[in-house]
């Protein structure tokens, strides 16, 4: 009896000694791009060219880190945010990312935007073992920790969102005749695939029409007329904002009233619903994971108040209806959280380890109940969405928060 107590005491003592000694040995560890005073974060985003509207995201992130620095930085280190223009061109993206890595010597590349640009730099960054963290695209392929352990997404994937719509339709409107309008690029095709996967065996009988348009077309009115002629009762609108507004407006002009579901990408009150006309947009459905800056229901929300104060102070004159400000804030806050969790171990491996250990993290701008969770096998931080219906001048959330994780292929 006595001996067991003694053994227990001795082992406890050993454990205690071991614990204190590791604490004492926990020295500061750095990779290129981090030091006692600074963390260098690289970013590429289109500030010019066809997708330059997204440049707002980069500017918001820059302003966010300025705010962090004004408050003393992260664990005493200032964030040096270096952002370059890739003009949405893959060759330029490679050039700029190599500049970030080899000339500016950043610790990690954060929130690079666009599926083509990210595909172009993925192999390079993974071979150099540099984090390609929280990429700004909803393609499903970023959740692939086995083959690309240095790449991680952020927002819900397009496919998982489309699956949610398909599943909702099968439950609520089992006999629906569905028409799909999609943009003829990686974005639109991902939605198309997700919808078909969601319908499963019923895809062939439910989807009566697939109509695509090119992003370079000035107007898609002709496509809407064509779709109406096929007489579907559900219209899935997988478009970017400009075309989303055109679609809603045109269906109303035609006096046609199908059930319309619009992608989260084009669910902005300010840049889609308002231009389409609030009267025309009544009853349109969508799904969301973040709060809308132009939606008055969040006026008293503590998270959105912080966001609004941040904009007033660091980006005066910002158009709060632009979803890019909400997006950039949320993404930057997630990175700040990861860097904070890294503590004094600012190695690239630890950055990825911490990014893959987010538990129920909720940035200010996400919907109540939507949480960021990652693990060594789950590189899709946001995987939850909630259905919403447009009523009056804002979105009304309904139903439960739905998880739409699409496993990596």
């Amino acid at each position: 009896m006595l001996s067991t107590v003694r053994i227990a005491a001795i082992s406890a003592a050993i454990v205690a000694v071991a614990a204190t000694s590791t604490a004492a040995f926990a020295q500061k560890k750095y990779d290129t791009g981090a030091s006692d005073t600074e963390i260098k974060v690289g970013n590429i985003i289109p500030y010019s060219g066809p997708a330059s509207a997204y440049g707002v995201i980069g500017k918001t992130e820059e302003a966010y880190f300025k705010m962090i620095n004004d408050r003393g930085g992260i664990n005493g280190r200032k964030v040096n945010f270096v952002s370059y223009d890739d003009a949405y061109s893959p060759p330029k993206a490679v050039e700029q990312v190599r500049k970030l890595v080899e000339s500016d010597e950043v610790l990690l590349v954060f929130n690079p935007l666009g599926t083509p640009s990210n595909t172009a730099i993925q192999k390079y960054l993974n071979s150099k073992k540099i984090p390609q963290l929280f990429v700004a695209t909803g393609a499903t392929k970023w959740n692939d920790p086995k083959n690309f352990p240095w790449t991680m997404g952020w927002q819900p994937s397009y496919q998982s969102e489309a699956q949610i719509y398909a599943k909702w339709l099968m439950k609520e409107k089992p006999d629906a005749k569905v028409a799909i309008l999609y943009q003829n690029d990686d974005f639109g095709k991902d939605y198309l695939k997700g919808t078909k996967d969601g319908f499963g065996a019923k895809a062939a009988s439910s989807i009566i029409m697939e109509e695509s348009y090119e992003v370079s077309e000035p107007s898609i009115d002709g496509h809407i007329v064509k779709i109406k002629a096929a007489n579907p009762d559900v219209l899935l609108i997988y478009t970017t904002p400009k075309f989303g507004a055109q679609t809603i407006k045109k269906t109303a002009e035609l006096g046609w009233k199908p059930l319309q579901i619009i992608t989260n990408v084009s669910a902005s009150v300010g840049s889609v619903m308002q231009p389409a006309g609030f009267d025309n947009a009544q009853g349109v459905l969508s799904a969301a994971y973040a709060k809308d800056g132009a939606d008055s229901q969040w006026n008293n929300d503590p998270g959105m108040k912080k966001w609004s104060e941040f904009l007033d102070k660091y980006m005066p004159g910002a158009d709060k209806t632009d979803g890019g400000y909400v997006y950039g804030y949320g993404a930057a806050q997630t990175l700040a959280k990861v860097l904070e969790m890294c503590g004094d171990d600012l190695t690239r491996a630890n950055v990825m380890k911490q990014a893959a250990s987010l538990k129920d993290f909720t940035p200010d701008t996400l919907l109540p109940g939507v949480k960021i969770n990652t693990s060594a096998t789950d590189f899709a931080p946001i995987a939850q969405l909630q259905m919403q219906r447009f009523k009056g001048q804002k979105w009304e959330l309904f139903g439960d928060i739905i998880s739409g994780d699409v496993p990596s292929e």
Binding site: A87, E102, D185
Partner: protein, 340 residues
């Protein structure tokens, strides 16, 4: 009226200024100095700058190809991005699907594009000046969409594009992938440059220039105008295709979004800045389209497009004939210094 003025009167109203064929190239001494610089620089700089220099050579090739077409045969093209894309995809598909050696894919890309350009040159024969520019413009806008077509998706990867594997240095040479690819590109570029110079000095080159200067006179002298015009298109497209193939290998990725009309306009711009009809100017033009946007971005991120516009305007305003004009002035200065 002096002789110089007479020449000006003759060329007035012509879209492309007549450049005597000797003035299209550099002297031996200068060529060797440029070559030495291009060979030595990579030994002293970082990998990413080597990558930039590789892109510099690749775009220089594409600009030079346009220069042969416009400066040589007097035809305009805003469709070079389409030939570049076809070359890039040919190389990428052969490497990734057929497992072909990267170096062997380049001649194939060149031949495919030569054929493509030659065929496109047929209908283009009926057009000239701005109309031809518009027709080629249509080609450039159509190309990204053609590459996205579901019909070709199995090979092109559709909207997702194709990822290309970067080659290692052969024979166990002690150099990195970037440096090897640079020297490889340099060798290809020099080869094509020399061939182009010889082409323009040859019978065919003289035929090109005769057509450029006066089509009717050329045909009266027995030049087969239709043949040489399409030939010029073919040669230009072929060289652009090789540049596209090299570009795909260097960037390691091809996607429809990489080859939009923006690229065609950049190449056109590079040609004008380098000096229309002056082949060595291509590398200057290429440097302009690669580095000046970066400089503009450094000056103002939000207004990078506007800054780029101002810089471009300054160049066109101060040196309307581009780098060629600068080179001529420099030459005259050097001659003066020698005399003194």
């Amino acid at each position: 009226m002096s002789a110089a003025e007479e020449v000006e009167v003759v060329t007035e109203g012509q879209a492309v200024e007549a450049v005597p064929k000797r003035a299209m190239t550099l002297g031996y001494g200068t060529s060797l100095i440029v070559l030495a610089v291009l060979i030595l620089i990579p030994l002293f700089v970082k990998n990413f700058i080597i990558f930039q220099m590789t892109m510099l050579l690749i775009y220089a090739l594409a600009v030079m190809a346009l220069n042969i077409l416009t400066g040589g045969s007097g035809q305009f093209s805003l469709g070079q991005s389409a030939f570049y894309a076809v070359g890039a995809y040919t190389s990428a598909i052969l490497m990734e699907h057929a497992g072909m050696n990267y170096a062997l894919t380049l001649p194939v890309a060149g031949i495919v594009c030569f054929g493509f350009g030659f065929l496109f040159g047929q209908p283009a024969l009926r057009l000239s000046g701005v109309y031809l520019a518009l027709a080629t413009f249509a080609l450039a806008t159509a190309m990204p969409q053609l590459l996205k077509l579901g019909y070709f998706e199995h090979w092109t990867g559709g909207v997702q594009g194709l990822v290309v594997t970067k080659p290692d240095a052969p024979f166990g040479l002690p150099m990195g992938q970037d440096m090897w690819l640079y020297y490889f590109t340099l060798a290809v570029s020099i080869g094509i440059y020399l061939a182009s110079v010889n082409l323009l000095r040859s019978r065919s080159g003289r035929a090109f220039m005769a057509i450029r200067d006066n089509e009717i006179a050329a045909s009266a002298m027995g030049v087969d105008v239709a043949l040489y015009k399409t030939l010029a298109f073919g040669v230009s497209a072929g060289i652009t295709g090789v540049a596209g193939g090299l570009g795909a290998i260097a960037v390691q990725f091809v996607a429809p979004d990489g080859y939009t009309i923006q690229l065609a306009i950049s190449l056109f711009l590079g040609m004008v800045v380098g000096g229309v009809g002056w082949l060595p100017g291509s590398i200057v033009g290429s440097a302009f389209i690669i580095f000046v946007p970066n400089i503009a971005e450094g000056i103002s991120k939000g207004l990078s497009g506007a800054v780029f516009g101002v810089l471009l305007f300054l160049v066109i305003f101060l040196v309307p004939h581009g780098a060629r004009q600068v080179a001529i002035v420099a030459q005259q200065l050097a001659a003066k210094l020698k005399k003194n």
